[in-house]
Every structure is written in C-alpha cells, then in structure tokens.
C-alpha cells in the first residue's frame, strides 16, 4: 500500500484549493512511581510481565484504587492549559475486547473529564503565536503492549503469534484533546508540530512526565480533514471527513504526517473520490500513511460510570494552591533565559528546537558560559542525538561534563577538533572530559621546547619554503605550519606554531 506520486497532490495545490482542519490527541504517560490503579512500578524497560499484580492483570475479584499523585498531575496539567477543573467527576468504563486490555474495558473518563475548555498559545518558527483551543484533558489507564511475532510488518496481520506484555497496563495516562484547529492554512503541519512541541515543553516544565516520544511516553494521534475553499477564498462551513493517523511519535513526524495526509486527501478529493473515515498508520521510513481500521462515529464503547471507583472531587482550595504553584510558562521562560544568556533569536530557536533549554540552563549553572553551553548542546550533541534517534537528555553526558569540556576549550588545552573527540569519549563511557583527555592523550602541545624542535625540522625539510618566507612571503608559512601540525598529529597549538615559524624566519 505504498503511495505513488499519483496518489498525492502537490502541497501548493492542496492549500490553494482546500482549507485543512486538524485535531490533535496527545497521550502522555505520567511519571508517577506507581500505576494509575495499583501499586505496581512504572519503570520503563523492565522484563516483560514483571511489573504486574492482580489489579493491573485484571484478575477476577481485583479492584482499582485511584493514584492520588496522578490526579494531582492531571489537575496541574489542566491548570497549565488554562482549563476549568471539574469540581466532581467520575471515571467511566470504555468497553471493547482486545488481548492487551486485561479487563476488556479501559478505565477512563468520558463525559465528566477532570479538565475542560482551555487553550495553549503555540509559537511558530518565525515567532508567530497561534492559539490552539483545548477541548478537554482526562485521566485513563494505558493498555498492555502486543508484540506480533513472525510477520514482516510487526503488525498483527500476517503474524504467526502474538505476545503481550502487561507492564504498561495501568500506567497513568492523560489524554489532551484539542478542538478542531482551523485557520492555519498552509501552516497547518507546522502548527501541529509546534503544538505537540509546546505540550511537551509544558509537561516537562510541570515535571509530570518523561515526555519521551521515542519511548512512547508522549504519543500523538493526528486528525486531518480538508474542506473546499470557496471562490472568495473563504472556507466552506461544513468540515470534511477526517482521518486519524495513530501513534505519530516524533515532532518531525507529526509535521510530515499531517502534510502527507493533506496531500493524500487532496488527491482523492481532486479526483472526485471521497475520504473514508478511518484510522491510519504512519510509516516513518516512507513518510506515508496506510489504511488502518474503518472507524465511524457509531463505534460503540458502551461507556458507563465506573462503579468500582468513587467520584473524584478535587477540593477547590487545593486546586487554588496548585494553580499558585505552577511553574513559569515555557514561552515566558524562554524569553527570560534568552535575554539572560544574550543569545540571538536564531541561536535560541535552535536550542529550543533541540530540546536543550533545561540542559543549557543546568550547564550554565555549573559554570559554563551560555554561548559555549548553547553551542555544544544545540550543535554537536543535538546532531548525535538526532542520528541516534533519541532525546537529547537521554545522551550519556551530563551538564557538568559539558561544562568541563567548555572549560578545556576556553583555557586552550584542547581545540575544537579535539574537543569533539573528547565528547565521543565521554559518550562512549570513558569518563569525564579530563579523564578522556588523559587516557586518549588529547592535550594540545604548547610547550615551546617540543614545538621549536618540530619547527626546526620542518624548516630544514623545506628550505625553498623557508627562503620564500625570508623574502617576505609570509603567506607561504602555512605549508610549514601544516608540516608541524602533521608531525604533532594535530595536537599542537596552531597559533603558537605560527609564531615560532615567523620568529625564526623573519627578523624584527
């Protein structure tokens, strides 16, 4: 089902003819110590089915009890999104059969979500602020994880058998749902990416989640529909049929998936075909989506209030206290830090885009200059993380180590090229920068004795070059400096070498 070019319409044609409407559902796993309804650990990556108990396995007779920390996190998220917090609300059961759902119903919230009617101001790359309306944020439990074995796609279709890991079953989730986002026009994919990024920054600032998209602790489902533009350029009123692309798991993919769906739907509409309301799978490698399962508004989950749990009734005084102790909003914080660090807009944007704000802050806090900290985190380290497909913060290097490295460069003990090698050593687990410098013998040689001898040998080995310099052609010195650097295997202070060469061949 790979798309061919005929299946998509050029992007410019899509946005000329249609107005995209997007809706984003973000699922965030809370970083509570225990699960939503039982005392099991939530640590990621444990051996399958080791973090389970009668409750999260849905054994007969077991009952849920609500995790108070999860409720607190949900209220704080709601407040940070400028939502109203429901004074009273019940959990509901969402009934459907699936092997990774231990009870064959998900304990969720339905018509009484804990937070409703908020908004989030999203900054686009050029600084434009776009307000996204939030419909609701509600609490629910995660499902287990199915592993389909034997098929070529890793999906259930074609698999020989499936295994289920219930460690994830019962992990607290908050689902944040936007209202339909209209008016973004050709910037819709960018708005989608920026929105998910802004949610991620907000959740990180709240300290309620690891927000690691690559580990699935932040997941995004993107709803996309197109509606025809009227000749006057205004959009027709009715919304088009939407598709829901599931589990888009990086910021870049959110943008690409929305963009792809726009071009795919555009091609269908332009050819007179209709859009099927369905869920779609995102394929990272091909940058396309394929049909999942048909979904209609008639999907019947037979919701009813969860009788095993008492209603949640947050004390208004407690909610007010939480509201007063919310952290600074990420955009305001960015502006404050940019001013304090004296960074240009472009530098600051690179840094934010790399997800490096907190890391730079921590690096500056242990003594590095803001410029150096920003340079390393949004440069070499961001590239390394990108290549490995992991979050910057999960690289095996600490802000203190980056600060130490910056110190080595600043004091002239290593140059930039060598510093990058030191970085590789640290990332490879060889210890702190100082230790790597020692172990790899990477220190610059600036000792005049050793350098002087090498310079003498270089002059002796290239008398013609030396003669040119003596004749005043100083620019020829590069060849001699190069020879010295080669002999010193690059670990010489190039500026000092130049001084020594000129001192020997030009007389004052």
């Amino acid at each position: 089902m790979t798309a061919t070019t005929s299946e998509v319409l050029p992007y410019e044609d899509v946005v000329a003819a249609y107005d995209p409407v997007i809706g984003l559902e973000v699922h965030v796993e809370l970083s509570t110590v225990t699960k939503m309804f039982c005392g099991c650990s939530t640590v990621f990556g444990a051996e399958p089915n080791t973090q389970v108990c009668p409750v999260c396995l849905g054994l007969p007779g077991a009952l849920p009890v609500v995790n108070a920390v999860a409720v607190e996190s949900a209220v704080r998220i709601g407040l940070a999104l400028d939502c109203s917090i429901a004074p009273w609300g019940r959990f509901a059961r969402k009934n459907y059969f699936y092997p990774d759902m231990p009870k064959n119903f998900q304990t969720s919230q339905y018509d009484e979500p804990i937070a409703v009617d908020g908004h989030l101001d999203v900054e686009l790359d050029d600084g434009t602020v776009f307000r996204v309306q939030i419909e609701r944020a509600h609490m629910e439990e995660d499902t287990g994880k199915s592993l389909h074995v034997g098929g070529s796609t890793g999906r259930i279709h074609g698999a020989e058998h499936s295994l289920v890991d219930y460690n994830r079953a019962g992990i607290p989730l908050i689902e944040i749902v936007t209202r339909p986002v209209t008016g973004a026009g050709q910037r819709a994919p960018e708005v989608a990416r920026a929105y998910v990024g802004a949610v991620r920054d907000l959740l990180r600032a709240l300290g309620v989640s690891d927000v690691r998209m690559e580990q699935g602790s932040l997941r995004c489902d993107a709803n996309v529909s197109l509606r025809a533009r009227t000749p006057d350029g205004q959009s027709a009123v009715p919304l088009g049929t939407r598709t829901e692309t599931k589990n888009v798991n990086s910021l870049r993919s959110v943008e690409r998936a929305v963009r792809y769906e726009m071009t795919r739907q555009g091609a269908r509409l332009a050819s007179g075909a209709t859009i099927l309301q369905e869920t779609r799978h995102w394929h990272e490698d091909s940058g396309t989506t394929t049909s999942g399962r048909e979904k209609s508004d008639a999907d019947d989950y037979r919701y009813f209030p969860e009788p095993d749990l008492v209603p949640i009734a947050p004390d208004p005084a407690w909610v007010a206290t939480l509201a007063q102790t919310l952290p600074e909003a990420p955009p305001a914080r960015r502006r404050r830090l940019q001013a304090a660090w004296g960074l240009a807009d472009l530098q600051m944007r690179d840094l934010v885009y790399a997800g490096a704000t907190e890391l730079v802050e921590a690096t500056v806090a242990v003594g590095a200059s803001p410029a150096a900290a920003a340079k390393w985190w949004s440069g070499e380290l961001a590239r390394t993380a990108n290549a490995a497909g992991v979050e910057l913060s999960s690289l095996a290097i600490t802000p203190a180590q980056v600060a130490q490295l910056a110190g080595l460069v600043e004091s002239g003990r290593v140059n930039d090229t060598m510093a990058r090698q030191v970085l590789k050593g640290v990332l490879a687990g060889e210890g702190d920068p100082e230790q790597v410098v020692g172990a790899r013998g990477l220190e610059l040689v600036s000792d005049d004795g050793a350098l002087g001898a090498a310079v003498d040998r270089a002059i002796a080995g290239a008398p013609d070059v030396a003669a040119k310099i003596r004749d005043g052609k100083v620019s020829a010195g590069g060849a001699l400096i190069g020879a010295v650097m080669k002999e010193m295997k690059g670990q010489a202070d190039a500026a000092r070498v130049r001084e020594l060469v000129l001192a020997r061949l030009t007389s004052p």
């Binding site: 007969p60 007779g61 009934n95 092997p99 009788p307 095993d308």
Partner: protein, 514 residues
C-alpha cells in the same frame, strides 16, 4: 445446637469458640468433625464445590499450636468456615460456579479471606453457587445444583445456596455469602438459617468476583444471629484496596446481638413487600413475628415505599449492564478455560475469545450479558441504564422517608418457601421474582438480615423474615434480630433446624477427607 451435644457439628460457632478458648476441644477435633460431616452428607447435599481438607487441618493445627504457645488469637480462632466460590482464595480453586474458570487457583486472597485467616478461622472449602451468582436456586451452577437439606428435591435458594445449605446441613457452623439482590438472604430464608447483607461498603469487595459492582456485598451465613454477628465483625471494616469501602470499623454487632432489646423501637412493615403474591404460610409466619415484636414492646406501623414497584425492573437493567462489563475479562487470554474453535485453521485471538465464551458461559450468564450489552448501547443507554439509575434514586428516597419514621423495616424475605428443583428453570421471570423483597436493599445500599420465622403450615418448610436498617446501622439488625430470634425459639420450643429431617449419610472414611 448447644455446647452439650456430643456431636461438635451441632454446636454454634459461639459455643465452639468458647470451648476452643478454654481448651475443652481442639481446632483439629472441630475441623475433623466437620470434614467427616461433609464426607457423610455432601454427596447428597452438594453444598461444596471443593473441600480443602489438608489445608483446613493444617490451619487448625496452627491455631492449636498458637493457643498452646499462648499467642493472642481472634474470638473465632479455630472455628471452621465455608466460603462461597465467588471469593478468591489463594491456593484453593475458585470457579464462581462457572466452567470458564474450571481449575483456576487464584494467586491472591480476597481481603475478607485474609481477615478470616488472620482471625484463625479454618477454611473448609468453597461452596456451590449459581454461575457468577446469577440465579435464585443454585441450579445455574455449571457443577450441578445444591439440594435443600430440608427436602433434597427442593432448591436451597441462590445464588449462595451452597453456603446456606452447608450451614443448614451442619457441614459448617459459619459460611460466607455474597448478596447482589438477595443471594445471602433468600437462601437463608429457604434453609431456615440466618443471613446478613451488610451496608454496601461495609465488607471489602476486594477479591469478590464481581457480578454487579454497585450492588455486590459479602456477608455472614450462620445458624444464629449471634454467630452471624461474630463473623460479621471478623470480615467487616475499612479496606484501602476497595475504593467503595466505608472508612469506618466493623459494626458492634456482637454487643447488639447480646443486648437483644426492642422496647420502644419503631418498626415499619413495608406495604409493598407482602400481601398478594406471597404464600399463605409465609404471611402467617410473618404476621406472627410482627405480633411477637409488638408483645415485646416495639411500636409497629405500616409504611409505604411506592417506588419498590419498579425495583425489580431497574435491578434487571443495572445488574446485567455492570455484569456485561465485569464478565468481559473472561476471554481465555490470561487464565481459565481456553477453547480453540473447531475447523478454523490458525484461529485469531478474537475467534478463541468467542469460542471460549460460548463454551464457558451457561445460558443464564449469556442471557444477562446480552441484556446488559443492549442496555448500555448508545441510543438505548438513557432509556434503560439511565432510567434504572433514576429509579434507584427514588427507591433510596423511599427508604429515607421510611427511616424518618421508623428504626427498622420488616417484610417476608421471600414470597414463597423453597420451590422444587427444576420448577422455575424455564421461566426466568418467575425465578427473578424470588428476590422481589430483597432487591430494594441492594439498590439503596442498606443492610438487611433474614432470620427463620418458623415453618409454613402448608408445606412444613422454613419461612424467613427480613429486617432492614439505614445504611451503616447494621448493628440495629443484630439487636432486633436477636430479640425476635429468642422469642421465636420459645414459640417453636427450640431451634428450627432441630426439626429438619435427618440427612442420608455416606459412611465416613477418614482417609477420604484427611
């Protein structure tokens, strides 16, 4: 049933506890006596689905050792108890009377079982029941019906017929039941025993295989009000594992039962729970009980609860709705029966789920799952589940108004005495009507007790009288119940169960149970 009979199985739990406390008998002796009795009569009664003889004797030995060592023990330490098979017991099979859980041994104890074990009670085994507690006769058990010790051709009530029959047949002095719409009280009524449904949230539901979560409540089954009170105190009280559990200690039931005083008490007879549709012998025995209370100094008035008319209909929407969701987990993926469909090459998980549920659930369970699935469907929810919840509110208001006037309400427990096995099996609605008087208490979450009022003149079978109290006032039931029980003992010249016919016995083979 006093401590003077040579047969330990005829003793009350209270008398056994007293004799155990002073070392007059050992827990092992008491346990052996009951295991022997089970071996002798259970082939005919079939109250038990599983007897854990080895575990019971080991537990009894541990109690005897602890007592010998002078360690502190609970008031019922060493007294045997039977547990309805809907309650999880670590190491003992738990099937809820269903084929779909055949052979399942839970890895954990229900909270009430933890409390029984901690209190030194000896678990004899698991008692028979209608599948997933759906029924009023125990005929819907996948493992065959239980027989009423008063007449083996008759039903012992349900769903907890096994627990009531075990107590009535002197196979156990105490048993645990669960009551969703009458499953403790109705079996108690038709077997001449005492059964109490505590206030909703009074006994932890953690480890009760859920039928209808908002209605289910575990409680004691016994042969006397005092014995029920003692067991209630062991299992009751707050449990942090059950979010709907009331944050209060167990009621002072024993103290209330010992005081047994009704002077000045206002008692209401519910007009809607009696009269037409109630068997003549049931009405006679009920009227007598009312008169005894008047004679003892209680003030009796008639009260009306007009919404009770809709209770049965509301109950049969709420219960199936919750059950359809609660029973979804039985899908062959993690535990219990797994059936691979015939003639399907490489079946999908969905096909295995369907085949297993088709083979593993009985007709009554399927009937209620279908009913509940329908009632919760979008487009029908408001008309069915939504309306039923409104009726529930109205019923709670009726009770509230009634308890504004009286301290305790009274009615017959059931419209009839025990009917014959098979009599109502093909008529679900007739079967559902067995619980018409017990259901309102579950819908409102209030406590209820059934105690024996005597034998019906026309068939010589036990009649039960039901007492109801406001939520959290369970102790009041024990006070009134014990007073009425004492007067009835005098009226009948001794315990009603002394009049039950002797059961056919199989010669006890100690190897068979030890």
């Amino acid at each position: 049933m006093t401590g003077t009979s040579p047969d330990l199985t005829r003793w009350s739990a209270t008398d056994l506890a007293a004799a155990l406390a002073v070392g007059e008998v050992s827990a092992v002796e008491v346990t052996r006596a009951h295991l022997d009795r089970i071996a002798a009569v259970d082939p005919e009664v079939h109250a038990f689905l599983h007897v854990g003889a080895d575990g019971a004797l080991a537990a009894a030995r541990a109690v005897d050792d602890a007592r010998a060592a002078g360690r502190p023990l609970g008031p019922l330490a060493g007294v045997p108890v039977a547990v309805k098979d809907v309650v999880t017991t670590q190491g003992l099979p738990t099937t809820a009377g269903s084929r779909i859980l055949a052979g399942w041994v839970p890895p954990y104890d229900a909270t009430l079982v933890t409390r029984l074990r901690a209190g030194g009670l000896v678990l004899l085994g698991k008692t028979n029941m209608d599948e997933f507690a759906m029924g009023s006769s125990t005929e819907h058990s996948a493992y065959g019906p239980t027989h009423n010790p008063w007449d083996l051709e008759r039903i012992p009530g349900g769903s907890g017929g096994g627990s009531a029959a075990a107590v009535a047949a002197f196979e156990a002095p105490l048993a645990i039941g669960t009551d969703t719409g009458g499953s403790i009280r109705q079996p108690a009524a038709v077997t001449g025993t005492v059964g109490v449904k505590p206030t909703y949230g009074g006994v932890s539901r953690y480890g009760l295989i859920a039928l209808a979560s908002s209605l289910d409540q575990a409680g004691p089954c016994a042969r006397s009000v005092l014995d029920a009170a003692a067991l209630h105190e062991v299992i009751g009280g707050h449990d942090p594992r059950d979010s709907t559990s009331i944050d209060a200690p167990a009621p002072a039931a024993v103290e209330a039962a010992r005081r047994a005083d009704v002077r000045g008490l206002r008692i209401g007879v519910v007009r809607e729970l009696g009269g037409d549709g109630y068997q003549a012998g049931v009405r006679t025995r009920f009227d007598e009980s009312v008169q005894l209370l008047v004679d003892a100094g209680a003030e009796v008035v008639e009260v009306s609860c007009p919404s009770f008319e809709y209770a049965l209909a509301a109950y049969y929407l709420i219960l199936p709705s919750e059950a359809s969701s609660n029973l979804a987990r039985f899908d062959a993926m993690r535990y219990g029966l797994r059936v691979v469909p015939d003639g399907v090459d490489a079946p999908t998980a969905e096909q295995v789920m369907a085949a297993t549920r088709d083979a593993g659930f009985g007709d009554e369970v399927k009937r209620r799952i279908i009913l509940g699935t329908y009632a919760l469907s979008s487009g029908y929810y408001d008309a069915y589940y939504g309306q039923a919840q409104k009726v529930r509110t109205l019923i709670a208001r009726d009770f509230e108004a009634a308890f504004g006037r009286v301290d305790v309400l009274m009615s017959p427990t059931t419209p009839t005495t025990a009917f014959r096995l098979g009599e109502k099996l093909d008529d679900p609605v007739a079967m559902y009507l067995s619980d018409v008087a017990t259901i309102p208490a579950n819908l409102a979450g209030i406590p209820g007790m059934s105690l024996p009022a005597g034998l019906a003149d026309e068939d010589g079978l036990p009649v039960g009288v039901q007492l109801l109290a406001p939520a959290t006032h369970d102790a009041r039931l024990y006070g009134v119940g014990a007073a009425l029980e004492a007067m009835l003992l005098e009226r009948w010249g001794g315990p009603l169960l002394d009049r039950a016919p002797a059961l056919p016995t199989t010669a006890p083979t100690r190897e068979g149970v030890a």
